[in-house]
Assembly symmetry: C2
DNA sequence: GATGATTATGCAATATAGTTGCATCAATGA
DNA sequence: TCATTGATGCAACTATATTGCATAATCATC
């Protein structure tokens, strides 16, 4: 767990019951340095506690709606989930390897975005700006040069 | 068709045979002001020419690999496809309405990104930076205020 | 042209990711 | 204790995408 995050508190502040399953989901996601898919969360929890696949989907949905988690579009088919930005976690872009599919978090200040123009001119409501960097990851580059 | 794009040329320059199906796919996508899903491309072409669903998927894949099209992560489940940026089409962010799922193209200069830091420090290869703005579109805002 | 190789397409089956409907269980308040 | 609400489980289902293999079209060579 990150020193600043008490998962129980996070859930309560967001207005959702801190059930055992929800705490599990949050702990698994918070304990990883990269966003995870629903299937990964399910498999990880399932190694120690029985839980239903659908329950995982429902909890992920709920926590995204309550802004505890954020849903990250990964380039691939499955959505990834990470802790939502908050006081202690700055929003940051994600990298997605188009060869192996790995999704990793980038440093919050690796990119800077100026969205003034958007906010001034866009007629809808802007909730979130997601940045996805696509390319070939370090490992895949290495492998590619090995033949 | 956009004045600057001859689809036949686009395909030839990209090194792919300009078959009738490929031209169809490209024309449908190029003729729309917002990126389309595979299903939408399939349905649109299918109104006039018989084509197989799988063929559409394969053509989309091929054209993305050859950088004629770009795959846009839409927040929702289905990928969207638009013309890839080129001399005449600046890369631009996309907006995705979290209520109705609509995906629309934003003005290229509604956002400006500084990626120097990323390029200087990231150990992998960066091919593309995708920006997805999430929120509520104008129409949905209007509907929401109507009750 | 005819012939063989390569590429493109079609079709059926399958895989993957996510969703729905309904039953049950647990917690909460009257 | 009972009724109500919310959380979870389970099975079936939907949407999206992919695979394997057969056929058709195209291209290069004779």
């Amino acid at each position: 767990m990150c020193a600043h995050c008490n998962y129980q508190n996070l859930l309560e502040k967001a207005g959702v019951e801190p059930t055992a399953n929800r705490l599990q989901v949050l702990a698994v996601i918070g304990g990883n340095d990269a966003p995870l898919t629903a299937a990964e969360v399910f498999a990880t929890i399932g190694r120690f506690h029985p839980i239903n696949r659908v329950t995982v989907y429902r909890i992920l949905d709920l926590l995204v709606r309550h802004r505890v988690l954020e849903r990250i579009s990964s380039g691939g088919r499955a959505a990834h989930f990470g802790l939502a930005p908050n006081k202690y976690h700055a929003p940051h872009p994600h990298f997605c390897c188009s060869r192996c599919g790995a999704v990793i978090c980038l440093n919050p200040d690796s990119l800077s975005i100026d969205a003034d123009n958007l906010h001034k001119t866009f007629a809808g409501e802007v909730d979130r700006i997601e940045v996805l960097v696509e390319g070939i990851c370090r490992n895949c580059l290495k492998q590619r040069s090995n033949h």
